[in-house]
């Protein structure tokens, strides 16, 4: 029942969906491969615009009226407001890029590629167990899992606090993207709750960064090793 829309798509819709999901996966890799904090933010904004377009398309092809609102809210909050808030935090920071990397760019890209293959295998097993014969479903599951894994990678491999919040946002974008295709009839209320959740997270984060900057002078987790009362 859940994947009803995704299993009965006309070819044009299917190819549009695949294009948008793959493009957002590529943007997640841009974030994983770059060292500049501003690039993360721009890639995240572009990814949110793509996901907004995707939910509008799902709404159009599936006949869900409320998804247009979701698309509008996604573009507005994830595509404009969150990047703007992050940009304000970035202007206050004195670091423009990750200075110390745990793994080099190329290694993390190759690990990301391995994560995509793992996600593909999991998605194929899942759809085979559920007897769903649809490439769009497999693709959506793959991209969702791999974006979550990439988000985890970013959380684990980066020191700067900004890249960590962007890792969480990528993770969340992945779940949202998968949900849009797999379970398109989610109530509008849940979407609103999710969006405000993110908004609150980023706003809290802005306060935290300001606190860290005044008291410690850095937002890198390398410098936060000692517990103080």
């Amino acid at each position: 029942m859940n994947a009803m829309l995704a299993t009965h798509l006309d070819p044009l819709a299917a190819s549009l969906f695949s294009l948008l999901t793959i493009a957002s996966l590529l943007l997640a890799f841009v974030m994983l491969g770059s060292r500049w904090l501003k690039d993360y933010m721009l890639a995240f904004a572009a990814q949110s615009w793509l996901i907004g377009m995707l939910s509008a398309l799902v709404g159009y092809y599936g006949g869900y009226r409320e998804l247009y609102w979701v698309a509008l809210l996604t573009v507005l909050f994830r595509g404009i407001v969150l990047p703007w808030l992050i940009l304000r935090i970035l202007r206050r920071l004195n670091t423009a890029r990750e200075l110390h990397e745990i793994l080099s760019t190329s290694t993390s890209l190759v690990i990301g590629a391995a994560a995509v293959i793992f996600a593909l295998v999991v998605a194929m097993r899942l759809t085979a167990d559920l007897h769903i014969v649809s490439n769009v479903v497999v693709l959506a599951l793959t991209v969702m899992f791999s974006m979550k894994l990439i988000g985890f990678l970013m959380l684990a491999l980066r020191h700067e606090a900004i890249s960590q919040i962007l890792g969480i946002l990528v993770l969340e974008n992945g779940i949202f993207l998968g949900a849009q295709i797999l379970v398109p009839g989610m109530p509008l209320m849940i979407e609103l709750v999710l969006l405000f959740d993110l908004l609150v997270a980023v706003a809290c984060f802005g306060v935290l960064v300001r606190y860290l900057l005044t008291h410690i002078g850095s937002t890198s987790s390398r410098d936060l090793r000692r517990l103080t009362g």
Binding site: S18, L19, I22, L25, L26, G33, A113
Partner: protein, 314 residues
């Protein structure tokens, strides 16, 4: 049948005779893009003529490898055009001697012998050049294999002609994500394999040299052969990129004289377009640090993996 044999000879001659023109085009318009005058389009031909007339100087330490390497490299580059679609989009009599992997193997044999020759005379720069080339090859080869695997999975065949036909016949596959990712991955490989930035240096200072350092000991006709085979390698890689992946149109379907002439004209246009893209990269990119060479190649690897994943879900 005779027509096919003649077409096959024409393929080899096209690669042999037009490859210096491609090099000249890139060198000239790269300079033009950077607001300087640039050499003439025919300068590589003049260089080759000059080198063929010069005296041959052989180091005392050189063995037979020094003599054979340029000949092996040149012969390898003359062999590959028999296997790939240069002018015609159907297999010619000897085309089924090898598939894509076979062509890649023959290309690599040339590189391998030049590496041996660079080490042979025992000069320091030759050793540096050979070791750097091998390092880049080690980084680039997995991606190349993955691109071939991706092509094979996409077309269910390893013959370049089949891939060409498939892409011409199916716009859906041509614009599909698998094919576009493969094109992007192969473009990075093309830059790395034809001595272009961001990996290779555009200035000829010994410290930065990679390909040039390997042939530093050569002079006269042998150097001319090596340079010519380098240009032919570039032309062959452009041919594979254009005719198997990016621009599969504009090939002769029957092998008539008019069709072959048209295919040559189309090659000039298509390679011109790809060369312009290469010039744009060369003009905008700076040379990467030695320890960052793997980054563009890791991106190419990632794109090839994504192509294969996208192909599984097509």
């Amino acid at each position: 049948m005779l027509r096919d044999v003649l077409a096959q000879i024409a393929q080899v001659l096209t690669v042999l005779l037009l490859s210096p023109l491609l090099q000249g085009f890139i060198l000239r318009y790269e300079e033009r893009a950077q607001r300087s005058r640039g050499p003439s389009l025919l300068q590589p031909y003049r260089d080759l003529r000059k080198l063929f007339r010069k005296q041959l100087v052989v180091p005392d330490t050189a063995s037979w490898i020094f003599w054979t390497a340029p000949i092996v490299a040149f012969t390898a580059m003359l062999t590959v055009p028999i296997l790939i679609p240069v002018l015609t989009n159907y297999p010619l009599p000897l085309s089924d001697m090898g598939d894509i992997l076979g062509g890649g193997l023959v290309l690599t044999v040339g590189t391998f012998f030049v590496n041996l020759a660079a080490l042979d005379s025992g000069s320091a720069y030759g050793g540096i050049g050979a070791s750097r080339t091998v390092m880049i090859t080690i980084l680039a080869e997995p991606t190349l294999i993955l691109v071939f695997v991706g092509i094979t999975l996409m077309a269910h065949a390893m013959l370049p002609f089949v891939v060409n036909h498939l892409l011409v016949a199916n716009p859906a596959i041509y614009w599909g994500s698998t094919h576009l990712f493969l094109v992007a991955a192969f473009f990075v490989l093309l830059l790395a394999e034809t001595d272009r930035l961001p990996i290779h240096s555009s200035t000829h200072i010994e410290v930065y040299m990679i390909e040039e350092a390997r042939v530093l000991e050569y002079s006269g006709p042998l150097l001319a052969l090596l340079k010519w085979s380098g240009m032919m390698k570039q032309f062959i890689l452009y041919t594979i990129f254009c005719h198997v992946l990016l621009l599969p149109w504009g090939l002769s379907k029957l092998g008539t004289v008019l069709g072959v002439a048209g295919a040559v004209l189309a090659i000039l246009i298509k390679f011109g377009i790809v060369a312009c893209a290469v010039i744009a990269v060369e003009t905008t990119q700076a040379r990467l640090r030695f320890y960052r060479y793997q980054e563009p190649l890791a991106v190419a690897f990632l794109l090839a993996v994504l192509a294969i994943v996208a192909n599984q879900i097509r």
